[in-house]
Amino acid sequence: MTSVTVAPPPRHYLNVAYTATSWLLTTDHKRIGILYLLSITFFFVIGGVAATLVRLELMTPEGDLLKAETYNKLFTIHGVTMVFFFLIPSIPAVLGNFLVPLMIGARDLAFPKLNLASWYLFIIGGTFTVWATVAGGVDTGWTFYTPYSSTYSNTHVMATAVGIFITGFSSILTGLNIIVTTHKMRAPGLTWFRLPLFIWSIYATSLIMVLATPVLAITLFLVAVERLAGVGVFDPKLGGDPLLFQHLFWFYSHPAVYIMILPGMGVVSELVACFTRQRPFGYAFIGFSSFAIAVFGFLVWGHHMFVSGQSVYAGMVFSILSYLVAIPSAVKVFNWTATLYKGSVSFYTPMLYALGFIGLFTVGGMTGMFLAALAVDVHVHDTYFVVAHFHYIMVGGMVMAYLGGIHFWWPKITGRLYPEGWARFSAILIFVGFNLTFFPQFVLGYLGMPRRYHVYPDEFQVLNVMSSAGASILAVGYLFPLTYLIWSLRYGPIAPANPWGATGLEWQTTSPPPTYNFDQTPVVTQEAYSYELGDAEGRPPEEIGRE
């Protein structure tokens, strides 16, 4: 990324210095966002390689490629890296870091040094986890259920737990920074109800990050103490209660699911508004539904333990509360859809991702309702139905939104335009590959194929081959953006300040922005989405395009 070359005249955050230390010791939120972008792409590749091997093994019913132990390690590495080192930092730490100060008209986040420190914590935590992987792996699954993780597993549980513990603090510090920045750093005139919806959602995400992550930290700490000091906080042999671990773990990890979707919803709100040239329908409802999801998200963790021996009455309460999450989620989906109505819709790449998000998230959310039903969950618990469900949310939802956001803000981040034709082609390829990979898994799960086994009965083979074939298409789909985005750094056309004719504050400064973002602190006199007024140059909506 340091090799970006742009015509000399305007000084911006990329060409202000080129040395390694100017990157590694930077306190510029935009550069730290790029450090995160590079780091999480690295972890995405690791998680992707593990997923590839898992899908290859599942091409045949027999365990002919991998041993059971290796398979266990691979799906654990896939889960751990994708959840903790890709999805959770993806939009908050890359786009959040880059965009929050720009969108609110600030020079930087409230605590720039803390921001850099959080990236270093991320790297240190990641190093532990990579080391654990290289040194022999870990086989507990990303959920670390006790007493297997605390007593019986002979793999590198400690190093992985330490890695996630440290990375958790990176996530806490990012959330803290965003909360304080949103409260205290907004430009004059930028009231809460003039904020872009991305800020609402990233703020709600940050609340979850700071309130849930510490619970994961103490839980992993207890697992580590249990392994290290030989005590039995979660070990039934020593009077401990394994279910307590599951309560503590899911008290973090269920809200963490919303860390992995809320920012995507924020991105989609921006994309839908820009590519329909409309103010989002029901702005306040979309904003508050982010908070509702964050709050409800803290009250539903018990739906992961319907079959773990939890009291049936607790199960009923958790089931009802889980249904409640559907309300704010549906509010968003209906509002995005209503925004399309009578909008001037254009199908640039980011919009393709946004539309993909809306459909796939809806499928993922609806199947979540199946799982929240006590009786149905007994049937599909720990089957591929669950795997398909959460991949529709995390990949179909969050990764789509992340890619949509990266494409949308790429001109602002790098000062270059990406090749639209290739980008549209790969967006469609990813959509097709994704559905072919994961839709058969709903069927597999409903027919009773359990997750986390490397062998399965012969009758499941056709659906598994379909899934693996889809995964190969998906992999190719991901390689395209990786290639043409890097290509565009050198050969892409120079981006104007506002290639989309969008209305946010981030589009009012140059592309890429100067180090302190704005030459003068902007004064805000209207809300974020004044598309009915045309764009900054006064062009009417239908004339606004990229070319």
């Binding site: 100060p101 600030a106 020079r107 930087d108 986040l109 409230a110 605590f111 720039p112 803390l114 806490i172 803290l176 920074n177 909360i179 304080v180 920045t181 409260h183 205290k184 750093m185 700071v210 309130l211 849930a212 992550t213 510490p214 619970v215 930290a217 103490i218 839980t219 700490f221 207890l222 103490v225 000091a229 030989g230 005590v231 039995g232 906080v233 020593l238 009077g239 401990g240 209660d241 307590l244 309560h247 503590l248 302190y516 602190t521």
Partner: protein, 216 residues
Amino acid sequence: MNDLANPLAHQFDDLDQQRDAAELGMWVFLATEVLFFGGLFLAYAVYRGQYGEAFAAASHHLDSWLGAANTLVLLTSSLTMALAVHAAQTGQRGLLVGLLLATLLLGAVFLGVKLYEYHHKYEEQLVPLFGLPFHYEGSARSQAMMFFTLYFIMTGVHALHMVIGIGVLGTLVVLAWRDGLLAERYIPVHLTGLYWHFVDIVWVFLFPFLYLVGTR
């Protein structure tokens, strides 16, 4: 110390905004700490509920007088800390250095007493960690083990927070000595004060939960 000339960081418009941001940041951090300790208190509540009698019996092996004395020490340190914040705001350098040192020393006394208690438990063979011999006379041995496990983890995590606080106080003493923390530069003292009071409050809960279980 390089920013002695200008205490305002580039991203802020004025000192008020900078102070508000720092203060809110500290409160958010303390909220994360509440959740961090919350996990431990939940574990304690679960096992206390399941093993109430065994916890009461095991609790009698702790010296509640030492615990009470330590509570007094820590609450006094909160007083000196609060006075230190006032001294910083009003620009009294000598008083500030003295009060920060007093807070630091009281914290050290607390940790000394804690270490003595740990050592005493070791001699009584009541440390269920690292495969050390665990010699317990009562009926419910494994339940008492759980009590002592939680005792060591909870007070240990608390003590770790005390050590960090003492480290920060040491840094503040040096800065205060060099005139770095007076008047509009008092924010670091104020934030450390918030942290220190939080750590004290955790102990205010730990003391009755661990030392005063059941009737004596």
